[in-house]
């Protein structure tokens, strides 16, 4: 098998790790940002600490802790599971910051208008605030997805057979240390570029809506 088809065959694994980690991060990030805006000081403090700790650990260290540390003990884990949990946690911390910034961008008057109309907290969040915040958060979320796509190469270190892992194996066995990695780089760019273009398009589109508003 030639190197390109080996790399292409690993694309689904890379995409799977990226997508699953992103999904976990997107949901957990919501929980974290809700915590950071809680009316209880303790909840705010805990949420903030979690974010700080997750952002303070290099992702590869977190992956090793989860896979070799926790995963080799009582809690048996497949490399893929450990990868997704690790990158999912990192994503949660990062995305919660993206959400937090986007919430700060929603004018105070929107909260006040909702309050004055007597809308419940849930209705205010779901129907008034979230849709506006989402527009602001969207470009940052896509940017994170692109970083995550590239950072997913890290999980080759815990034995997930994604692009980087299979490329490395091929390079070692074939003795060619240059071409396989250049091809891998090209594949990452080929996947990431459409995302980047989409992100810029979204950014422009939402900037137009915000200006008009």
């Amino acid at each position: 098998m030639d190197v390109l088809s080996i790399i292409v065959a690993a694309i689904p694994v890379t995409l799977g790790v990226t997508a699953a980690s992103f999904a976990i991060g997107a949901l957990l990030g919501l929980v974290l940002v809700a915590g950071r805006r809680s009316r209880w000081t303790v909840v705010r403090g805990i949420s903030r600490s979690i974010v700080e700790v997750l952002r303070g650990i290099p992702p590869i260290v977190l992956l090793f802790i989860i896979f070799f540390g926790i995963g080799s003990g009582s809690l048996r884990m497949e490399p893929f599971q450990a990868a997704v949990i690790g990158l999912g946690l990192v994503s949660a911390a990062h995305l919660s910051e993206v959400y937090r910034g986007s919430l700060l961008a929603v004018p105070k008057g929107q909260f006040e208008a909702a309050d004055a109309l007597g809308l419940s907290r849930t209705t205010t969040s779901a129907r008034v605030i979230a849709p506006q915040a989402f527009r602001v958060a969207m470009p940052g979320m896509v940017t994170w997805a692109i970083s995550l796509l590239k950072d997913s190469a890290l999980v080759s270190t815990i034995g997930v057979a994604e692009i980087m892992s299979v490329t490395n194996q091929y390079a070692r066995s074939s003795g060619d240390g240059l071409m396989p990695f250049i091809l891998a780089a090209a594949v990452y760019i080929a996947i990431g570029t459409p995302l980047a273009i989409w992100s810029r398009w979204l950014e422009k589109r939402f900037a137009r809506i915000r200006k008009a508003a």
Binding site: P107, Q110, E112, A113, A116, L119, P131, I209, A213
Partner: protein, 252 residues
């Protein structure tokens, strides 16, 4: 003013921000159907006083009662009391605060569905009625961004009216508008006053205050400086502060 007639009463309402007394013991009775204009220099506490009425600012002390139902604000106000109060009191903001991601019609209908439990059809029907009343039925499907400031403010008025409030609060409703756009908003407010709506209007529009309001209140330093029929207050102010403020406005 007899207690029995008043639809809204404030008693010794106080609100302090970071050591500064924004509202310093205001007591006020508003009669059903009365139109009250509140003027005063910026920082006089008039907007804060207004925002205390629907508890956008929770007063540090004092009571607020709407239609005889007392709310002691020194403790925590329950969510239920808050909703009860807010559904009876509508508010219009200086910056309109329409929801930019919803059409004009959705802006007016959504709160009716969520707060009053009206069906979508019922809410839309009521919204269209109100849009007609403020002269904007043709804008029903437009987004706020496609409306002028004056149109947005008229939509905001319709949105507040859609919840059938008993009292309408206006917080400098024309301050963010060009004078001519302000006029169309004032015309809608004048119409509303004619229907007998109880209104409290914080404003710098002296002409509106003089011709529409039943009572003019002058505030300074978080207190009510003086009040009375607009012509009387404007023509024969009792306080030096009022005279200085009025001449500053008139000279403009």
């Amino acid at each position: 003013m007899k207690q029995a007639e008043s639809i809204l009463s404030l008693r010794d309402v106080e609100k302090t921000f970071a050591g500064h007394k924004a509202v310093d013991g205001v007591s006020l009775d508003i009669a059903r159907g009365e139109v009250v204009a509140v003027i005063g220099p910026s920082g006089s506490g008039k907007s804060t006083m207004l925002r205390c009425i629907n508890l956008l600012e929770v007063p540090d002390s004092g009571t607020i009662s709407v239609d005889g139902k007392n709310l002691d604000t020194s403790g925590t106000v329950s969510a239920r009391d808050l909703t009860q109060l807010r559904r009876r009191v509508g508010m219009v903001f200086q910056s309109f605060n329409l929801f930019p991601h919803m059409t004009v019609l959705r802006n007016i209908s959504l709160p009716q569905e969520r707060v009053l439990g009206r069906s979508r059809e019922e809410a839309d029907r009521r919204s269209m009625e109100l849009l007609e009343r403020v002269g904007l039925q043709q804008k029903a499907d437009a987004y706020p961004a496609k409306c002028s400031g004056g149109q947005q403010q008229r939509v905001a008025i319709a949105r507040a009216l859609a919840l059938d409030p008993e009292i309408m609060l206006f917080d400098e409703p024309t301050s963010a508008l060009d004078p001519e756009l302000g006029l169309e908003v004032l015309a809608v407010m004048r119409q509303l006053a004619d229907t007998g709506m109880t209104m409290i209007v914080v404003t710098h529009e002296i002409h509106f205050a003089a011709t529409v309001a039943d009572r003019l209140i002058v505030m300074a330093d978080g207190r009510i400086l003086e009040q009375g029929p607009p012509q009387q207050v404007l023509d024969d102010p009792q306080h030096a502060r009022t005279r200085t403020f009025l001449s500053a406005i008139k000279d403009r």
